[in-house]
Symmetry: C2
Subunit: 276 residues, 2 copies
């Protein structure tokens, strides 16, 4: 039976693409309207894919706010996707046929150099999303119109093919996605863990992170901070990613469990919300 | 001569209020259109006030992105403001006179309980900002219309007074502001320092924050993370607030300088961008 995967939609988004790169054809994909809904889709679906951070724009706040109160599921994987815009047209079209390029305004702007060099006389026209542009080309009968969109669109919409991949001007735009699972996996060879920690209220204002990290006693690779889901001003919830160091890949799951116990003994709220 | 203070405008915002609580009548206030412009106003003005974080919505991304490339000035103070909506009317009006309340939609929503209890038969009408509502009441001749806005509005616009302060339903909404100074201050009794640290590129992906904080060897009270201002994917700039511990208020400035030197020796970019 195929896994059922919820993702931040609509069809053809880069989150859809990330989900596909993780599950390929072994899954059925269910588009969700918001990140909140995608996380909540774990009530009925097997997996959920949401963006975690983009290399230019930073952490996705809505995702971390959703993780503050995550009720069901656990992070079990990560996908890093290079954001690559593709020039997509009806099957059979050649790049010399194209006289009109459509896409979301932002994507058109991000591919200006390519358009100036290869399609200097083509007109451009904006759509509400990159996926909407692909859908429009899919429905048209014309070989003269192309969309700028994600590669997944040629799988999602009929009759399309990629004329050129990676046409964006800026070549270092990556997004990192979380893959969540409804059930706790049995993967024992994980190298990363995400901890969710809310310090004890009494010491919130003069809370010492160094001491907390010393308690964790592991390699900390990322920290995110969001207001805690309580009405205590400036009390924070920290999302702390720890990783196995290269020299120590065996003993660390035990050290991690001990660290979590020590944090709890000191009155902090500490939970493991993912491992991959 | 009065200090010239730039703040995130328009007049009557909570940033204006925060600036006023810091400088009172000793300054002339210059409204700026964006956070970026407010930080850049230090090219010509003496001080700048920008929001740092809100207790419900978290850190202000635009502020930290501006601090990544701050060219002139240094943080020299902080203001914590309780976000208190006021019911404001023409001087001489009584609460029983009010039959119409105007404000930004959000502020009206945040004061629903007060309105239901004290002005159940008043109509409400929305404006583009809370300050715009105050301005409208200021210009009107009617004693029957009131605005919901910040207290500073009665100083900013003519003929107004506060009928009731703190009318918001939710009572734990605070915003923390940075006060930046064009010139480095000579204040030697600071208790907080903000460090801006970008780790060496080579170890970015397996960069260990615990080790970095151990190098700092001081009480760390807050960490924010934003993509570094370089085209290296997932290289971060950290904003690390350190504070004097209660037991040690004398030796720590030296320890801090040593920490920064050690970070630099290890090839990290490390700078002190504020002390207060």
């Amino acid at each position: 039976m195929k896994a059922r995967v919820g993702f931040l939609g609509p069809l053809g988004t880069y989150t859809h693409q990330a989900a596909y790169e993780y599950f390929h054809d072994s899954a059925i994909y269910h588009e969700q309207k918001t990140i909140k809904e995608t996380l909540e889709s774990l009530d009925t679906l097997d997996y959920a894919v949401v963006p975690r951070e983009n290399s230019i724009f930073g952490s996705v706040i809505e995702t971390f706010d959703g993780l503050k109160t995550l009720k069901r599921g656990t992070i079990q994987g990560e996908v890093v996707l290079k954001i690559q815009h593709c020039l997509v047209a009806r099957r059979g079209a050649k790049i010399s046929d194209i006289d009109c390029v459509i896409s979301h305004e932002q994507a058109l702007g991000q591919c200006q150099k390519f358009l100036a060099r290869h399609l200097p006389s083509a007109t451009t026209s904006s759509t509400i999303s990159t996926a909407a542009a692909a859908q429009k080309v899919s429905k048209s009968q014309s070989l003269n119109v192309a969309a700028i969109c994600s590669e997944i669109c040629v799988t999602t919409f009929e009759g399309l093919e990629v004329l050129e991949k990676g046409i964006q001007d800026e070549d270092s735009n990556y997004t990192r996605f979380f893959v969540l699972s409804r059930n706790h996996g049995s993967n024992q060879s994980f190298t990363h863990v995400l901890l969710r920690i809310t310090p004890r209220k009494t010491c919130a204002e003069h809370f010492d992170l160094t001491e907390l990290l010393r308690t964790i006693d592991l390699c900390v690779t990322r920290i995110d901070r969001r207001p805690a889901p309580v009405s205590e001003p400036f009390l924070d919830t920290y999302f702390i990613e720890v990783a196995a160091s290269k020299n120590d890949t065996s003993g660390w799951p035990d050290r991690l469990s001990n660290s979590i116990s020590r944090l709890k003994e000191r009155g902090h709220l500490a939970e493991r919300i993912g491992q991959w």
